[in-house]
């Protein structure tokens, strides 16, 4: 990857991260109403539930009833994180052993296939079309291309520059669209755990 692209990736990534931090920080502008009702449950256990058991298909009906979508979603996100690692190994010029490249390659490919499946599901499902904005399609395609070029880059260095350019576009887009959930998701799950943990709903104590 040329040094210009390298710098572009780093700068755009930092831009995305700083933007996400600012966006989460800006939610604080709306204030934080203190809670007065006496706690009944355990907030910490609620948060653990939110991130572990509360995400599993045997606990969450929506995941159980849509198991293929759930699995595709999980694999898609694993693929994204692994491809990100690959991207930064290129940027930082870290040479990876072949078996790692092998894992990266197929994670990106499988992630890409899952992402495209979700894209086509959104196109063909009237329900999903009905709740979708252009951002839903753009975000999905940007990430899918990131995965695709990540995959191709494991085969040929010729794809590394396009991979870098797509990564820059993706990072620059993150604050504009729903990919921001890569940060908001974690805050949301904490809030979920706090709400239900405090009330003794999850985990159950009464």
């Amino acid at each position: 990857m040329t040094s210009v692209i390298n710098i572009g990736v780093v700068v755009s990534f930092l831009f995305a991260m700083i933007s996400l931090i600012i966006m989460i920080g800006r939610t604080r502008r709306f204030g934080n109403n203190p809670l007065y009702a006496r706690e009944q449950g355990d907030i910490k256990k609620g948060i653990v539930y939110a991130f572990v058991k509360g995400m599993t298909p045997w606990e969450k009906e929506s995941a159980r009833n849509h198991l293929p979508t759930y699995i595709f979603g999980v694999v898609y996100h694993i693929g994204i994180f692994i491809t990100l690692i690959f991207l930064f190994s290129i940027v930082l010029r870290i040479s990876l052993p072949f078996f790692i490249i092998y894992i990266l390659r197929y994670s990106s490919l499988i992630g890409f296939v899952c992402g495209m499946s979700l894209f086509f599901k959104r196109i063909f499902s009237s329900l999903l079309r009905g709740i979708s904005d252009p951002d839903d399609y753009i975000s999905n395609l940007l990430v899918d291309n990131f995965l695709l070029f990540g995959f191709l880059s494991t085969y040929s260095v010729g794809f590394i520059i396009p991979f870098g350019i797509i990564s820059i576009i993706l990072f620059l887009y993150i604050p504009l669209g729903k990919i921001r959930h890569c940060a908001f998701f974690f805050v949301e799950r904490i809030l979920f755990g706090m709400f239900y943990g405090r009330r003794g709903v999850y985990p159950t104590n009464r």
């Binding site: 203190p34 009702a37 329900l127």
Partner: protein, 443 residues
């Protein structure tokens, strides 16, 4: 057609909405948000997995009934007014102004297609608190005079007359005296008391005003339990209404005013513990929300009557004969008490001791389906047809258990289940938990 006829006053009000009203709505919207709500409003990924967790979507099958669609109505407005991307790139994320068309959508969907049961939230991929966002939006509508008439009159009656049925103080006191006399005859004890305004009693017991009006046996049942446990308890002659429809119209001020009256009764009577009757939203309102509305920590305990009854059983203060309740009983979990309130195993513990044959619905507990009576749906007659249709999920659940009795600790649920019972010909009896316990009590 009947729906259109009834909806007219709302449509008329929307037609007359001014820019000042809309500015006020946006101001109120912002005031009602805190960082938690702002986080929720930034987080939906439009995965649509919430759809079939909603009894409205399962029974109506239309896009407008999906939680994601309903939530998106609020998100669009939030983005338009409060986010950089919504203000500058609305073509990307669908941000929309709060205009007359959007206001109508809010009324129709957020009041008319949601019972605020929260089932979508526990099934949400992200975990957003959707019913609380719906409440925020309802509060915005209420602030600009767009509460559906049935709900508005319920709240107005409660605020003006002290209880949501408008029962006069003397009628309430006489009703309790009459119930007390009947009870004395039943147990053959002229000293059996249903105390009114007994200062220094340990427990102040609240009631749903529908009980003295339509379900006096519910009051008798609780009185019998207290009598058997030899408890120090009391009713209040002035403020006793456990319900709080301010939870549903989203107006914190009115909601706080109603709940504060129970606090006043507690202080006047000098009781130790506020005992909330079998009422789902009354429990959520007074146990969890009222301290937030009033912005103060209570200096007394607030518990459900179920918790107290369970304690009596554990401590051996009441003896129960489960053979008195032989017919198969199923439990309907009120959303506000269970999924949003945290009283989950208590009613099961009680029924295990009070009945021979308890059959669970599937799903149950936190994952139960709403009966359709929550969210003030019972008071908004314009949406009755949708409510009954949405209740089919619960009707099917009940039918599948083969139970002859449905026990539920909530009078709103009882009203809805009674309608479902007739409409879907379920042939079941519907009781409160305390009624079942009272039937099994050995005096």
């Amino acid at each position: 057609m009947s729906e259109n006829t009834i909806v007219d006053p709302i449509k008329e009000r929307i037609e007359n909405i001014s820019q000042e009203d809309i500015d006020k709505a946006i101001r109120i919207f912002k005031e009602k948000l805190d960082y938690k709500y702002a986080t929720h409003l930034n987080s939906c990924v439009h995965c649509g997995l919430c759809a079939d967790s909603c009894h409205y979507y399962l029974t109506h099958g239309d896009l407008k009934s999906t939680p994601a669609y309903k939530l998106n109505l609020i998100v669009k407005v939030f983005k338009k007014y409060f986010t950089f991307t919504g203000k500058n790139f609305s073509i990307l994320n669908g941000a929309k102004k709060l205009d007359k068309e959007m206001i109508w959508e809010w009324v129709d969907s957020l009041y008319g297609r949601c019972s605020m049961c929260g089932r979508c939230s526990i099934n949400c991929s992200i975990g957003m608190n959707i019913p609380y966002l719906i409440r925020v939006a309802r509060g915005v509508l209420t602030a600009i005079g767009l509460t559906p008439p049935g709900l508005k009159s319920t709240v107005d009656t409660a605020i003006e007359k002290g209880n949501n049925m408008g029962i006069k103080k003397e009628d309430w006191v006489e009703t309790v005296e009459w119930i007390e006399e009947e009870f004395q005859d039943e147990v053959g004890d002229e000293n059996a008391r249903f105390p009114m305004d007994k200062k220094g009693a340990k427990y102040f017991y609240t009631v749903n005003p529908r009980e003295p009006m339509f379900f006096p046996l519910s009051i008798t049942a609780v009185g019998k339990i207290f009598y058997a446990a030899k408890e120090s308890w009391t009713f209040s002659s002035d403020h006793y209404d456990v319900t709080n429809y301010g939870l549903y119209d989203g107006a914190d001020e009115g909601a706080g005013l109603m709940s504060d009256r129970l606090v006043q009764s507690m202080e006047r009577l000098g009781c130790e513990t506020l005992v909330l009757a079998e009422c789902g939203h009354g429990y959520n309102s007074n146990r969890w929300e009222a301290p937030e509305w009033l912005k103060k920590e209570y200096n007394f305990n607030t518990i459900s009557i179920l918790e107290l009854v369970a304690d009596y059983i554990r401590e051996g203060r009441i003896k129960l004969d489960p053979s008195k309740n032989k017919e198969p009983i199923t439990i309907h979990d009120p959303c506000n008490l269970v999924r949003l309130g945290g009283i989950i195993e208590t009613q099961r513990f009680i029924l295990k001791h009070a009945a021979e044959n308890v059959v669970e619905m599937t799903p149950n507990k936190q994952k139960n389906f709403c009966c359709g009576g929550g969210g003030a749906q019972l008071s908004m007659t314009r949406f009755s047809e949708r409510r009954i249709k949405a209740g089919k999920v619960k009707a099917d659940q009940i039918a599948q258990t083969g139970a002859k009795i449905v026990a539920t600790p909530c009078h709103n649920c009882i009203d809805q289940l009674t309608e479902l019972n007739k409409h879907y010909d379920l042939k079941v009896k519907i009781n409160t938990i305390c009624e079942i316990v009272a039937n099994a009590i050995i005096l």
